[in-house]
């Protein structure tokens, strides 16, 4: 077996790091402009106060918290899916894992920004940190917001490590192919990696442990985000189903984001030889499963509320079913179930284009779901005199659009500086199995030879 036959693989996957097209610079310029517009909008909000946003009594949580929950949900694309696939040793995972893990890290970073933007006075964000103070207010470990602080930071730390550790051998590969300043930078990032048997063992054992540890953390993160709502006695929030409902929704939107990202990478970086239709088909099957699970949770939640017929909850229920929020609610159902279900259920439609269409629908649907969980409930609290409305203002819309641009920009820059597909894992996937013949196979072969 000639090991150097893997060089075309490494050449292909390293090429984007050394060659940059004009389109890349153009896209970076456009995206950076949008991100700067978002920063300017935030600056405007800081200067004039939080009143420039649409959030007001009684709807104190609007677009910002919707986006917070949405992005934390998207973050479940990567590390969780990658960890599960790693543990079950799914061979098809190899080209997918890093694409997925990157989404987690950037989505978490973007998601974690929203509570700070929402504060209005971000310079007081350190109050979230658990430190004892003379004010005798903190630490309050009974607050779900403090739980968020711990959960998100643990998940971000774990996800960052889960992403960075397998990148070390690839940094070494790029180091050895580079000269000048690149060699120095990648040399520093490679940490002196040489690929000794000991280093490989430690890396693989470490990744195995990390995969085991990160799964419960990922589940806990979105469960805790759901606790931000379910711990409050607000109509349709105070529900025991919220934990698993949020986790399922997060994985659902996460897989959709992963499919879209993979399709874009495949097209833009010419990775057709590595990201095959079968990867999209398998992820499409997972998306179908999550779509069914999502529909099951929504039905269970809605039926329970409707059957209970509790006044304050029914106000929210009808506002979403046939009231002012009905168009958004039914759009959510169409995006999360009506569109993806037939596309993903029919094998002929479960193509790359099909899964991408279904994924875009799911991303829109899941954003709407987050909005519909937050706003209608706050707008219809138990006493009708407290009812109100919410309309997003330009500042909120610009900041939201800017975060989507920031996500794409960060992803593009990452794929420019790091091989977006783990090269060494792909090489392992290409290893032919040695001709190991088990006793049973030997016996069978003997019987075959001895047949009459």
């Amino acid at each position: 077996m000639n090991r150097t036959r893997n060089n075309p693989l490494a050449d292909d996957l390293v090429r984007p790091l050394f060659h940059t097209s004009v389109w890349f610079y153009g896209a970076v310029l456009v995206l950076a402009t949008v991100v700067l517009a978002g920063a300017a909008a935030w600056g405007y909000q800081l200067w004039y106060g939080i009143g420039v946003a649409g959030i007001n009594w009684p709807v104190f949580w609007g677009f910002y918290l919707t986006n917070f929950v949405f992005w934390i949900g998207i973050s479940h694309a990567g590390t969780l899916i990658s960890a599960i696939l790693r543990l079950v040793n799914a061979r098809w995972r190899r080209p997918v894992t890093r694409c997925a893990e990157v989404i987690t890290v950037f989505a978490l970073m973007i998601g974690a920004m929203f509570p700070i933007i929402h504060l209005g006075r971000p310079w007081l964000a350190f109050w979230l940190a658990p430190y004892p103070s003379a004010r005798e207010i903190w630490p309050n470990f009974r607050s779900p917001l403090v739980w968020d602080f711990f959960a998100i930071n643990t998940y971000l730390t774990g996800s960052l490590m889960f992403l960075l550790l397998p990148m070390i051998p690839d940094f070494a590969l790029v180091r050895d192919r580079s000269t000048g300043w690149r060699r120095r930078i990648y040399g520093a990032l490679a940490l002196g990696w040489q690929g000794t048997t000991k280093q490989w063992h430690r890396l693989e054992s470490g990744m195995q442990i990390m995969a085991i540890a990160i799964i419960p953390v990922a589940v806990s993160v979105h469960t805790i985000v759901s606790f931000d709502f379910s711990m409050a006695t607000v109509p349709m929030w105070h529900s025991t189903i919220f934990g698993p409902y949020f986790v399922a929704g997060a994985i659902f939107s996460g897989i959709a984001a992963l499919i879209v990202a993979m399709a874009a990478l495949r097209k833009l970086l010419h990775l057709e030889a590595y990201l095959h239709p079968v990867h999209f088909e398998n992820l499409g099957k997972l998306l179908l499963l999550m779509s069914l699970l999502w529909a099951y949770f929504v039905f269970a939640e809605r039926l329970t509320v409707w059957y209970g017929n509790e006044h304050s909850e029914m106000a929210v229920f009808w506002a979403t079913q046939r009231g002012e929020y009905a168009p958004l609610y039914w759009a959510m159902v169409v995006c999360n179930f009506v569109i993806p279900f037939p596309i993903l259920a029919l094998r002929q439609l479960r193509t790359i284009a099909g899964t991408v269409v279904a994924s875009f629908a799911v991303l829109i649907g899941m954003w709407l779901e987050r909005f519909l969980i937050i706003v209608p409930s706050l707008a219809h609290k138990p006493l009708p005199y407290t009812w109100g409305d919410y309309a997003p203002q330009p500042v909120e819309i610009i900041i939201m659009v800017a975060t989507f641009a920031a996500m794409i920009l960060l992803y593009m820059l990452f794929s420019k500086f790091v091989p977006i597909i783990s090269i060494w894992e792909m090489k392992v996937g290409n290893q032919p199995h040695p001709p190991v013949v088990t006793e049973a196979e030997d016996e069978l072969a003997g019987l075959w030879r001895a047949r009459p």
């Binding site: 470990f141 690929g195 063992h201």
Partner: protein, 168 residues
Amino acid sequence: MKAVYALYTDPDAAQLAVDALRAEGVAERDIVVMSSEPFEEYEFSHRDKATWLHWIAGGGGLLGMFAGYLLTSTTQQLWPLVTSGMPIVSTWPNTIIVFEMTMLGAILATVIALFVTASLPSRLSQLYDNAVTQGYILVGVDGPSDELAARLDRALASVEGGQVKSIA
């Protein structure tokens, strides 16, 4: 002689080279194998397999759990504040913090132990050859005596397909 090594494109040949070095009496710990990917199916990659990483991760988790317990219960008692009628030391909410700290402890312990046991970060050893990341498997010995180096040179060359090199 500073080092002697050979580069192979075939893991089967690398396995034979490791066996040849053993036959020359080289101690297991002195044989160096470097590759651009792990070869789980080959015996040479099973050297150095014993690790305490799992136990260290568990220990880190326990440490994190203890830190989480202290952080919550101690600070709650030092700054007692009744919230929503809950006890000052509230076990249910504290469990969440303790859980997160446990997992954080396990993750950090794993990463630190991985870096320490894999000798990262470190300088590239003199034995290292850029050909490793091109797909070659390096089998060699660092710092053999001149007499041993000549024997090792022959042993490595006896395996077909190898490029034997030495660093004087």
